[in-house]
């Protein structure tokens, strides 16, 4: 069901854990669906300097989280906001149809974290 790339990312996820000094945190999903994704970012001058995730979820959710952090580090928040769930899916070489929603969570968690940052810093 999963391709080898997804399995590989799941096996060795990048940027997993708590992020010391994070100034932007977004959490999406709910336990009923079995997926909760938490994205922590360090944003300096609108650039995402660092990102880490924590995820309660399936293989696809964990792989998408990891992939998403890799895709946004170094990007401006505007650029990061442009990242679509389909970009995450593509970067993972595809996901099974019923797992696409996990990539949506990844997109949403980035948006949520940036929103959190904006609320705190750009008033």
């Amino acid at each position: 069901m999963y391709n080898e790339k997804v399995i590989e990312v799941f096996k060795n996820p990048k940027n997993m854990g708590d992020l010391e000094g994070a100034n932007a945190i977004g959490t999406v999903g709910n336990v009923t669906c079995g997926d909760i994704m938490q994205m922590s970012l360090i944003i300096e001058e609108d650039i995402i300097k660092d990102a880490k995730f924590k995820t309660f979820g399936c293989v696809a959710a964990i792989a998408a989280s990891s992939m998403a952090t890799e895709m946004i580090i170094g990007k401006s928040i505007n650029e990061a906001m442009q990242i679509k769930n389909s970009d995450v899916v593509d970067a993972l070489g595809g996901l099974p149809p019923q797992k696409i929603h996990c990539s949506v969570l990844a997109e949403e968690s980035i948006h949520e974290a940036i929103k959190n940052y904006k609320e705190k810093h750009i008033k």
Binding site: M1, I7, F10, M16, V31, G34, T55, G57, V59, H101
Partner: protein
């Protein structure tokens, strides 16, 4: 790294004796059991000898055994066939909420066609109460279908009691014994079973072959029609090698059932207590005592089951989350939900199912691998985080 296969409830390897018994029937004795010539009669004799072995194993008669393509077809046929054969205007079935999808989805299809179905709920250990079944019966009840033992949580149902109640009431009784065959003692007469489903690949037989036992006199329509095979009741060229493999595997499994069960129960119970002693926030699902010898089912808080499954797999331990059949769907297991487990925990469920040859050494290694991966995934989980902040976990 040798694989530790703890997914025997999903499927089992074919017995090498069964394969050896099957092999001649692929190429040299390949005749069609319906053919009149010697090549056909040879196949026919082998089929009938196998039928007898299978019949004996549940104390049925040979002519009550019908070969199907597996447990799913047997379940479909049993339920649909009885309903179709009934002349009642209103038709009512009683089943349980924790049946295999082969039973549940057949019932759901029949509901669309106007049949009434009551789904009896189990208690928190997965036990169906005979009283609940009695309470659900009405004058239109034609069929009661309750599985012998559950495929996810291993709970064994009070089949003999349900059977004798059905017999008294004149209601037909079907049991899906797919998970029970090979380990549990089944006597269709004593237990008053009218219809029973089995599937060979669950007891080291080949995939693609099963049986529906139909007690003599039970009114049931055909399901697959065509030629006159199986006394006109189930059409299609008989898969002779598979039939032979099924009987051979069954015979082998039953030959030392008691000692194999005793061994599995020992391994099962020490694994359960090891997990409970070594991993916090775990919940055993299913009944502790009325349980298949080979079934272990845990929910691990803060972890999603599929991720744990894959982690274990990467470390060489094959298990299942929910049932293999439900895999690919997003829903958490209907069985786990039916026994009242919360949605969150339902997503955190892993089944370990032992095989005849599972060793203590394997179980010990599996335990270590499990502990490590539960730890890793919990570290990854934002839910575990909040738990720690609440200071509840030390």
């Amino acid at each position: 790294m040798e694989l530790i296969y703890l997914d025997n409830a999903a499927t089992t390897p074919l017995s090498s004796k069964a394969l050896a018994d099957m092999t001649p029937y692929f190429i040299s004795e390949f005749g069609n059991a319906s053919s009149l010539h010697e090549k056909g009669r040879m196949a026919k004799r082998a089929v009938e000898a196998s039928r007898e072995i299978i019949a004996n194993s549940i104390r049925a008669r040979s002519n009550e055994i019908y070969f199907t393509s597996g447990g799913t077809e047997s379940d479909n046929w049993a339920i649909r066939g009885v309903i179709k054969a009934s002349k009642n205007n209103v038709k009512h079935i009683i089943t349980s909420a924790i049946e295999h999808p082969a039973v549940l989805n057949t019932c759901k299809e029949l509901e669309k066609e106007g049949v009434l179905v009551t789904y009896v709920y189990p208690d928190k250990n997965g036990l169906i109460s005979v009283e609940d079944i009695k309470g659900a019966v009405n004058s239109n009840t034609i069929l009661i279908s309750i599985m012998f033992a559950n495929n996810e949580i291993g709970t064994i149902q009070p089949i003999a009691e349900i059977g004798s109640f059905c017999r008294e009431e004149g209601i037909l009784f079907h049991t899906d014994a797919v998970q029970a065959m090979g380990t549990l003692d089944i006597d269709v007469n004593k237990m008053c079973i009218d219809l029973l489903s089995m599937s060979a690949h669950k007891f080291n037989g080949p995939k693609g072959i099963g049986v529906l036992y139909i007690k003599t006199g039970v009114k049931i329509d055909k399901f697959i029609v065509g030629g006159e095979q199986e006394r006109g009741k189930r059409a299609g060229t008989l898969a002779t090698p598979l039939i032979i493999g099924m009987a051979s595997a069954l015979e082998e499994t039953l030959s030392n059932r008691e000692s194999k069960n005793a061994n599995m129960i020992l391994l099962r119970d020490s694994f359960i207590s090891d997990v409970q002693h070594n991993i916090p926030y775990v919940h055993l699902n299913g009944d502790k005592v009325k349980r298949l010898p080979n079934n272990i089912n845990f929910s691990f808080e803060f972890i999603e089951g599929e991720s744990l499954l894959l982690k274990l797999d990467l470390d060489g331990v094959a298990v299942s989350s929910g049932s293999a059949c439900a895999s690919g769907s997003l829903q958490s297991s209907h069985v786990i939900k039916a026994i009242g487990v919360s949605d969150e925990l339902a997503h955190s469920t892993i089944r370990f199912s032992l095989g005849n040859n599972t060793t203590r050494e394997q179980m010990n290694r599996a335990l270590k691998i499990l502990i490590k991966n539960v730890e890793t995934l919990r570290e990854m989980s934002p839910l575990y985080d909040s738990k720690k902040k609440e200071g509840k976990y030390v």
